[in-house]
Symmetry: C2
Subunit: 329 residues, 2 copies
DNA sequence: CCGCTGAATGCTTTCGTTTGCAATCGAAAC
DNA sequence: GTTTCGATTGCAAACGAAAGCATTCAGCGG
């Protein structure tokens, strides 16, 4: 452990600069020199210390991946995509769990202390000023699944449009009394989806009620739907998240309702689980792969031009028809 | 961006060493000096560059978190626990997605290049020599959910005992023809659980058959159970993983079987999802929190004493009785 | 008032690497 | 056999911070 540049230089009988050059892309080294250094390096098992390198190059290839949503299985898919995407581009994710008890300011400071070049915020709900703290510190930050502000780069979907799409679909399937079940009320995703949903539903002659589950979780969805079913108001619900929908579905089944005949349900995300045969949830597909690679692209764009204006990149959604909504009437 | 030690020293009118000392714990600084430096640092927004610091202290506080299981929701729970546990101890996880296409050797090299002090392997199935590559490189490695080898630190459960526990439970519930559904055949978890299960089942007069699903996934479990149900051999199955069990459960329901009356099912892990009302899976609880904090402890132990012998720490499991096994007869 | 002692402080080297600059090399052109 | 010029090479100074060493300081007993 700990074989350095100098060790290799000594062994190969060349200068340290020569060794450095054979390991930095695009440097001027003769083939002979390169061969000589490389055999010495191989024998010693040398590979350059990226942290030391970063001191002079000012490039760490480190990216903060911060999320506070470690309870919604959809984020495992997202982590998978993000880590793969970063790895393909030679970047490394430093994972930060922004759970409730940790001080957000400390997380910002910490990532800066590790000289991350960029930060990907993979969550809709963020502490105030979190994103801008990075921007002000000069680190490329992109907010995935966030609400466009014009202040920072945002990648995601148009949540208002998604809400509209849900309403249009329910109306088209012949439901008239519609319900919206959101996640936490302060989440921008919840607010925007509700706004789009209500407006479109009313415009199409629907009647809409709404309520909020305490979290984007199965249990919250189940509890809330159980509550709703005690005094039924709607024939079909748009749940602002698949895992919420699955909780609601469970509650409906427990209440002896047949889905979709007695109650229609449509979710949002199209997480893998929505396709499971015993769930078979009709839902709005959120193109995670496009969003994630868009987020990484935007981050790299900003590496290249730190002063460019903030950019918003929204991708279209589409309905995935499964078994929780009745067919087009 | 980029305010350094020297900037603060200049502003405060003191030496660079003085600034360094106020930011390193346990250094000799007078209260007056400390105050002076701290106000200057605050005004400039200085905080020490951890990467530069690591060059002299040889401590990066960086830990590799590597997994190849980004499809089983249980790993989100694990990532949650690991990240929180590391953060509490002032350590930072560098996340590595060891997916099939990436070269394992490159991952090892990469983590070494970033001077990680330790590595947590959160997966049961690993490329050959992966763990030992870290050990040989002098980085503290602990294999969570792995099979004890005596060569590296391992934390997890006794998978053979877990298999026995499953068999004993099924027999005690009056099932006699037992089936084992494993994940990938080469996974040590699958092998060990099968070994314990078969031995105990036979010892107790049971008849056992076994087969393997291609992956630890819902779909693999569903497909395999569908196949098994075409020519039924067993009254109850032990599925080596909850998500596999849930797939199997779905297949059973699709085949019109009532669980647990027509078919018994027991899983392993007790992931959150197992408790969902519409799944309600009887399963063997694997104590993730103990395993994860044990893994971190063991890693830190090795920081302190890099030469100590490899250690294995196994935690006990217990049955969580839910709705997929009939009651004790 | 002096000498002593332990705490504070500053100087300088070091960590492992890159990189600007100058010196050297090699081969083509004359 | 010179020149010339671009490609290689080595030297040495950064990068941001820690820490050993020597120096200074303050407070104490005498």
């Amino acid at each position: 452990m700990g074989v350095t540049l100098s060790d290799v230089a000594l062994k190969a009988g060349v200068s340290r600069a020569a060794v450095s050059r054979t390991f930095t892309a695009g440097a001027s080294v003769s083939p002979k020199m390169r061969a000589r250094v490389e055999t010495a390096a191989l024998e010693l098992g040398y590979s350059p210390n990226l942290l030391a390198r970063s001191l002079t190059t000012r490039k760490t290839q480190l990216v903060g991946l911060v999320s506070n949503n470690f309870h919604n299985p959809v984020f495992l898919q997202i982590f998978d995509l993000v880590t793969k995407g970063l790895q393909e581009r030679g970047l490394r994710p430093l994972l930060v769990n922004l759970s409730d008890e940790t001080d957000p300011a400390r997380s910002v400071q910490l990532l800066r202390q590790y000289s991350v070049e960029g930060v990907i915020l993979a969550t809709s709900h963020l502490p105030d000023g979190f994103a801008s703290a990075f921007r002000d510190a000069g680190v490329a930050v992109v907010h995935a699944f966030g609400r466009p502000t014009g202040q920072t780069d945002v990648v995601g979907i148009d949540n208002v449009a998604a809400g509209q799409m849900a309403a249009q679909t329910l109306i088209a399937r012949g439901y008239r009394h519609l319900g919206f079940m959101g996640g936490p009320e302060q989440a921008s995703t919840t607010q925007d989806r509700l706004a789009g949903f209500s407006a479109a539903a009313r415009a199409l002659g629907g009647v809409v009620s709404h309520s909020f589950a305490g979290a984007y979780s199965f249990e919250a969805g189940r509890v809330e739907m159980t509550r709703l079913l005690a005094h039924p108001k709607a024939e079909a619900y748009f749940c602002a998240d698949d895992v919420l929908s699955i909780g609601a579905l469970s509650a409906a089944q427990a209440a002896g309702l047949r889905v979709p005949d007695d109650l229609g349900l449509i979710g949002l995300n199209d997480m893998h689980m929505a396709a499971w045969a015993n769930i078979n949830l009709t839902t709005i597909h959120q193109p995670f792969d496009a969003i994630v690679s868009g987020a990484i692209d935007l981050m790299q764009d900003r590496f290249a031009d730190p002063t460019r204006a903030a950019q918003t990149r929204l991708f279209p959604c589409h309905i995935v028809d499964r078994g929780t909504l009745r067919a087009q009437s």
